[in-house]
Symmetry: D4
Subunit: 163 residues, 8 copies
């Protein structure tokens, strides 16, 4: 079974949410991805969230836009850590998605990442950081990823005026 | 069975949400009120929403604050009309509650009222307006309520300078 | 006479508001659509709103953008339930439309849907949910629509990485 | 008949709106003040707005809060200049009032002032500035008021540290 | 001398601000338009604003974007009525322009119109409404413009589904 | 060494951040709490973050307000999972804190909780959920906490009208 | 003559703006403070700003609230560096003040600090940082102030649970 | 060594930040530009900021977007004046960048400029205004630049209607 489950409210969220998948793949963490809509497949949501732990999932990443209820509702049905990704909405630029995900009441937690692709990639990274607490290989992959990232910035210092 | 069910995410929402109850009582519509938390009692939510129609409920009013998932999740589990009340949150003045409730995706609808007590009272009024389509007595009560309201404004025209 | 009246502040709102019409058509609810501008045809607004009930209209859907006064002003002139659709404005992305529609004072209610096309479609759905309280055929159509929607999500689970 | 009419959506707006009255009194412009609710007395609104010009009113000041439709709806029924005052709302600090008043569509104008008491006072001042185009006495009063205001700032220059 | 002066902070505001000019032309009100930058030509601003009244100008329309100081600073230097137009800014959609113009302190007033072209056109209309208090011909032109506008809405009622 | 480190930008954040400590204590997770200011003790920040992993810390909770740089900067110096708590700021209600914490660029992740005390408590809960992946005792404590929370809602259903 | 001039739009801004004065005093930089209102004393503004440089002022700190035009207008009349302090407004919490000050167009710059007292204190600090480029004594005072600040955080690490 | 250092969080910020460089070049101030990421190269940040003063840098300009921690963190490691440029973010239009930079706590100051290119250019101008306190040649260049800017506005007064 996959270590991380990535779920999203709509297939149209996949271009954003696949950044989480790509990050996990890069860091050597197994994942599965599926569409689970809080509003259109509420029973699937319950079934998915309640069975995730016993299926071996360790972390759940959930992305949604607008009145984004998916991450919080999944968190309500599991004791696994849940990370939420606000997908950019077409009207309010994702501010609605962000507030719908992050402003959870005391007692049910969602660790929320940035709006859009950067946040989705970071959800994958954060999930890997959790997995890394138990898997030295993943921890080493994260350290290597971060070092490569630092090196890339260091090597690209040429800045030339356009005019 | 009551014609209108009023649910809210927390007992602390009742001072706001009872304005819906008071309006329904004034207009002669029966109601029941209970706490159903999307995050803390998610199974109760499903059970409540899925059985409401067969128990004779005709309209559901749902109030919640912050990452307010209750109205939308109830709407996902019923074909009854659902009206949502954004309860004022302590941090963002209810803007988070409003956006979490109103920005529903296509296919699951929540008719959203104003933030706070005015919105809760109006949820009661709107539910009564729906009931009134079948009950002339309620329709007459609404017309009378609105007339009284107009008269009150008309009779209170004295405006005196404070200084 | 049509069961649902769809009005909007400007012909330019029709591409958005026709999503309400399409939803009603799909659910077997009759409708009529017209332009009624709160600011440019205020007398037509009064005439329309005051005569709607006796012409057999049961629910009114009103869409407008910017300083969107149409839904609230119609609600002020009728006891029928009114659902408001904030049309996306060119400057503030519809936040102005949303707040102008939803923040009604106690005593005159507008059930407000999401900004833009999703909200317009849901206004049609919510109006049908109200009609369905009296028409089992519409209720069945809604249940079927929701089931189809669920099935569509369930059948579209293939998510492939772009890279 | 009064030169300026001050109207407001609710008697609770008077503590704010009387600042307009006080300014007009200070500048020697006659006014009348009354409550006209767009939502609770919509017919009074039409009657008031349509008869104002022939009753000798030259400028209308309209204040309202929340989904503030009063200024725009009055402007829709008259060719007189209308100035709008966003009254501070209890939930969103008057941002809803401001956007509901200022974002009027092309063809019906409302000159909008600041949220709250400063804006109400300035609505009185602006109305007087319009009246002053025809009445030299009012123009002189404005110039004197502005001079006094400047002098007050100039004379209060002592700034002492609190600590 | 022109009855209305239209000033703007930058030549790039002219595509927006010319809507004010077009409206004034349509209503038979004379105008002049020029660039006066609060920040880049502050002395020109003072000179312009202090001499406007004696040159016969009756109303000033001022448009600016971003930290939009032009309308308020002009109002600080004249007793003529000043109407402010928030030009859409490239970053914050004109919300910065709007707040910079409308939130004037007590004692110096700017009647503010909507963000962008609709607001600029309405500034022209509102200026004409002020001029109309003294010129019956302009009043008649406004009434005719408003009637034509109403007729246009009434005649364009055909709404056809796109699908 | 403690399993969870709680750091905050200022001692004034402790009334908020102690909610995280209380939650961890309730769930049987060891913690240490200290003040580490990104701006006033930047070297302490580096030292703390770089040594946390080897000192046995597994999760870091960081709270800050305003231009809240602490969580992101700590995340930049460690491969441990970091959860961020936006402390309510006195001016913008914590919206600045929230955006400063959550909008991290790709490559350095902070799982962000709600503004204020609810978010701090949930940071403790989320940290425990991560620890629980390795410690069945903590997992059982979480399940028990959640069950108790559900029971509390279920048992407090009496809602009485105030009037 | 003072090295730094502190000006503010209203005497009511002094409780906020004196934090700049206190910081300058602590760092050994001379200052003068006065009220200069952009809107109520526009000529004083011009006179002050145009003469500041030749009177020996090196840095200007300007604070204002609402439609805060003072910092930008002063910057338009001088080549000295100008730092702006958004004073908290009673309606929009200083968001209007902030945007009015910071969103200056290209060509006239205002270095803007945080809303309220923290920003005012930092304006004093930043002004001192500029003066310090020429005065080693001020530079040493800043380094000492910063060190003391660091030490204060380091020494106050006791955090005790309230419960 | 250069008088002004321009740093930015990512090479993608350079199209914006080079406006600062161009302004400095125009005003005869020497500069160096490099990428220093608060999150991806945190040690480089410390090294850069701590050594800047002794390398002869007098002013630091720092630009970043989203959770923009660079300007504030640099300010935490130096006593030189730091000016911050909020780079427009793809999601929230730079409002997140602005608040992350400007809302610094008391004791560490960042003088913040407008979002985007205008702000970057003005950061260059403001840095030059600081340098000019010691270099009359730069002061003269600024006065000339400002005069040219004024002249450009004065010479471009032809405004022709598009229609």
């Amino acid at each position: 079974m996959a270590q991380v489950a990535i779920v999203m409210g709509s297939k149209s969220d996949w271009p954003t949410m696949q950044k989480a998948a790509l990050m996990l793949r890069e860091l050597g963490v197994s994942y599965q991805a599926k569409v689970v809509s809080a509003h259109r497949t509420p029973n699937l949501l319950v079934e998915f969230a309640e069975s995730a732990a016993e299926q071996g999932v360790q972390v759940i990443i959930a992305g949604a836009g607008g009145a984004a209820h998916l991450p919080g509702m999944i968190a309500a049905h599991t004791h696994l850590p849940v990370f939420g990704c606000p997908v950019r909405s077409s009207q309010l630029n994702g501010l609605d998605s962000l507030l719908s995900i992050v402003q959870m009441p005391k007692g049910v937690a969602v660790g929320t990442l940035a709006i859009g692709e950067a946040g989705a990639a970071n959800a994958g990274l954060l999930a890997a950081q959790v997995i890394a607490l138990q898997e030295p290989k993943v921890r080493d992959a994260i350290i290597a990823f971060r070092k490569k990232q630092t090196d890339t910035v260091m090597k690209n210092q040429t800045l030339e005026l356009d005019v």
